[in-house]
């Protein structure tokens, strides 16, 4: 069975975050993920979109966010890209360190890693790409129905 792909390009706005989350929820549910996994996938995509809009593109109307979905036989992969300066992952403070527990922000990456099976981050001077992977277990649906 071949993989199916779809990609969306969004403005750098708060509405984008909700749109990306809604698309992720729809595609994950159609792919056969159960309610809990669907919510996890949608939440992880939301967190990636928040980072892309706020920290990557910094609401710059000239910069876009793309969200690409690919459903294969074994995985649903979502790639969220921004056009910012590139996230320095090493510089992100550990949100679980005692001195950071009560900070208001900085938990997005932690949540993505907890909610998904794999998270890969590739950053360059032209933007950040966050790849989110969830393995398909059991009765996943036909990718043709999920991603179209």
């Amino acid at each position: 069975m071949t993989a199916k792909q779809v990609s969306y390009t969004f403005e750098s706005t708060l509405e984008t975050i909700n749109s990306a989350e809604e698309q992720a929820s729809r595609i994950a549910a159609a792919a056969g993920f159960n309610e809990d996994d669907t919510m996890s996938i949608a939440m992880a995509v939301r967190e990636a979109a928040v980072n892309a809009v706020l920290h990557g593109n910094a609401y710059d109307p000239a910069k876009k966010v793309t969200v690409a979905f690919e459903q294969g036989d074994k995985d649903l992969t979502i790639v969220v890209r921004d056009q910012g300066k590139g996230l320095d992952v090493e510089s992100v403070p550990d949100p679980l360190a005692p001195e950071n527990l009560l900070k208001q922000s900085g938990r997005g990456l932690l949540l993505m890693r907890s909610l998904m099976d794999e998270v890969q981050i590739n950053a360059s001077a032209t933007g950040t790409e966050v790849k989110l992977i969830k393995h398909i277990h059991g009765n996943a649906g036909d990718p043709q129905e999920a991603v179209q």
């Binding site: 708060l14 928040v50 009560l102 208001q104 922000s105 938990r107 932690l110």
Partner: protein
């Protein structure tokens, strides 16, 4: 679904019933404004009932943390009541479950303030 807040007084404790989503944008702002409003009126014993909060993102978690520290810095207490499974799991992941005083019985929670 956007977030809604209503407050009621029970034995000197303000129970803040929240419903909907606490997320970046409107949901977080509604929570922030509600806590500020309660504090400005001298209500410093706050029990946030999250039974109908079905969704919270990292910004919403940050807003809960901010509310917790704001109330504490003003000599008050903010406790959480009736977490849904998802919110419970997220607080475990972020190691905040042990930071917050989390209750699952309203009457007992009210008594715990006194």
């Amino acid at each position: 679904m956007s977030m809604k807040v209503s407050a009621r007084q029970v034995d000197g404790v303000t129970v803040m019933d929240l419903s909907g989503r606490i997320t970046l944008g409107e949901g977080s702002i509604v929570l922030r404004d509600a806590v500020r409003d309660l504090l400005s009126k001298g209500n410093k014993k706050i029990l946030a009932n999250l039974a109908d909060v079905n969704y919270i993102d990292s910004s919403g978690i940050g807003e809960l943390v901010s509310a917790f520290t704001t109330v504490k810095n003003q000599g008050g207490e903010l406790k959480l009541l009736n977490l849904t499974k998802k919110v419970h799991d997220l607080l475990q992941i972020t190691k905040l479950y042990t930071v917050f005083d989390v209750k699952d019985n309203e009457a007992a929670a009210i008594k715990s303030f006194n």
